[in-house]
Symmetry: C2
Subunit: 344 residues, 2 copies
């Protein structure tokens, strides 16, 4: 049966922050299903810094979302109609659902097949986009790549963000001194009280550099980098010999990146990598498919043992709320994983 879908299509590439007119909300009829297809109703849409990258025509790790295409996005949903045996009506699926209410689950048409989640769900649904989803796995891989050891000092920027909040707890589990960097006193209190950071530096304070120096008296062995910009630059200046930078994200740049042109700022302390014989390793979770099971197993174990705190900011208001909600990632308004509830 044909249904009315509502979807955000990318009409033009944002110049700086996402602005009105960059995305357009359109109503479209879904086609009658044929064999091999199912129809999924999006329940939760994950908002990630990388969404902004996908909108830009830069040299990214996936092609830019084509102009006029439905905006790319990860989410979970429920199968409401089906002509495929592996996705019965009522099943819960996750993957690249896009910024839309209804998804035509056709493996030949989607960028990547949707995955069917276990039934019954072993954790609340939002966790499959957060602590037990790509976000949690990203944190796990980034900590593991850095070979963080007990007694070392790690700095995690975006300390209360979706990835950072999990990374901090994985770092603590390894016995490291864990120093967070977050925006504002509320987040910093939360980081210490709930997420187990030893110290949290408020980068909105004028003296954040001094705070960071004080918090890392023995220098920095590992940087789990989510932000880039001046924070990363300062951290680079405090690396110890043999330090490792797990480069996960540089959200400070995503709104201003100007390929081929001039760019405000830029990192000035990369030379410290020589002096300290240090390494930066950029990574993307999608390269680690063969370790998802290990990562999810580890995180689920911590969760089950009550040793993993996770935060969600769920924005209500349906799909319509997505563009405005995305801005929270860049202003830092969200705590933990940022989701939009598209339907119940």
């Amino acid at each position: 049966m044909s249904e009315t879908n509502r979807a955000f299509r990318l009409r033009k590439r944002p110049d700086g922050e996402l602005a009105e007119g960059d995305l357009e909300l359109v109503e479209e009829q879904t086609p009658e299903l044929v064999d091999g297809q199912a129809l999924v109703r999006t329940q939760l849409l994950s908002l990630d810094p990388t969404n902004r990258i996908w909108m830009s025509d830069i040299r990214g790790y996936m092609p830019a979302v084509p102009i006029d295409a439905v905006m790319r996005g990860i989410g979970v949903g429920e199968v409401i109609e089906s002509r495929r045996d592996d996705m019965p009506v009522g099943a819960t699926v996750s993957g690249f659902v896009g910024w839309q209410e209804l998804v035509l689950a056709d493996d030949n048409l989607l960028e990547a097949p949707l995955a069917v989640l276990p039934e019954p769900l072993p954790a609340p649904l939002p966790a499959f986009l957060g602590a037990l989803g790509h976000t949690g796995i990203t944190a796990y891989i980034g900590i593991d790549n850095a070979e963080l050891k007990a007694g070392e000092t790690i700095v995690i920027s975006g300390a209360c963000g979706a990835v950072g909040s999990i990374a901090g707890q994985l770092a603590k589990e390894r016995g490291a001194r864990v120093v967070g960097v977050a925006g504002g006193p509320d987040k910093c209190r939360h980081a210490v009280a709930k997420l187990g950071y030893d110290v949290c530096v408020d980068h909105k304070a004028e003296d954040w550099r001094e705070q960071l120096d004080t918090a890392t008296p023995d220098g920095i062995d590992v940087d789990f980098e989510n932000v880039g910009g001046p924070i990363m630059d300062h951290v680079l200046g405090r690396l110890n010999i043999g330090a490792r930078v797990s480069l996960c994200g540089m959200i400070a740049e995503y709104n201003t990146y100007n390929p081929g042109g001039e760019h405000s700022g830029g990192l000035t302390n990369i030379g410290q990598l020589i002096m300290q014989r240090a390494t930066i390793q950029g990574f993307l979770v999608l390269d680690y498919g063969d370790r998802f099971e290990e990562a999810i197993g580890h995180l689920a174990g911590m969760l089950g043992a009550g040793k993993l705190h996770y935060d969600e900011t769920i924005v209500n208001g349906g799909l319509d709320a997505a563009p405005e909600a995305l801005a929270q990632l860049f202003t830092g308004a969200n705590m933990g994983k940022l989701l939009v509830r598209v339907s119940d």
Copy 2:
């Protein structure tokens, strides 16, 4: 017997380029030797970009040269007086001789003991500061760390410099496509004709970015980075998935580095490390002492087989010429290894 030594002492830290008054040439009497000491006459002084780092009070890999101390430098010399059995008169030694004509070789007083070279010398003396010295070993380690493979594309900045010229030939030996970046058409011609580069991009040409793009149609798998600045930034923008950056030097920054302050430029393309899952590894040759023999053996083998071309720029005029000669490294006036002949 007491002798008159002439030495450059660091009187103040340079602000930008080394200027008159930063170093002072002084005359001093050497002490009477006691047991365990020898007196060495410096023959050749190696000028390296890192000399400039040693003058600055930044977070370097060795302590800054103290104010009023003899300027640190690597060189070779001949033992002219001795009260130690391991350094007979006439022996040739190499190591941290300092910017001075006479060196008191006392292991308790020097930063590092001098090494006695084999007798007779298996190659011309200057080679022990270049192709078979710390410079050649640096090139060897940097190429090896990057795990450069046949068929890959490597870019080497400072292509005709002391390290770059050797790195280029080691890269070619591995069967890579080797792209150099050097300053000026003469150097570029030399890079292709004598050093075996497949292509050399003249970074003084206005269209150097386009030239570099054309020279790397399949992107860049390895960057052997000696320069930093806009060249490195552009290279970062062309890295392939899984690319490795061997970060050896950033000479473009050594005169302008301003610790804790504002800094012109800065790298804007570090985010590409995420997109391309790429790695930067900073390294220093002094960490690889256990591989010096392997490296020198490999380089000596190439040299013996006539497969290693090396260039020297030897500045005459004695020790006095050292400060002015150092500037050549930053203007790019030298070809290959830059040395000062302090005595015959």
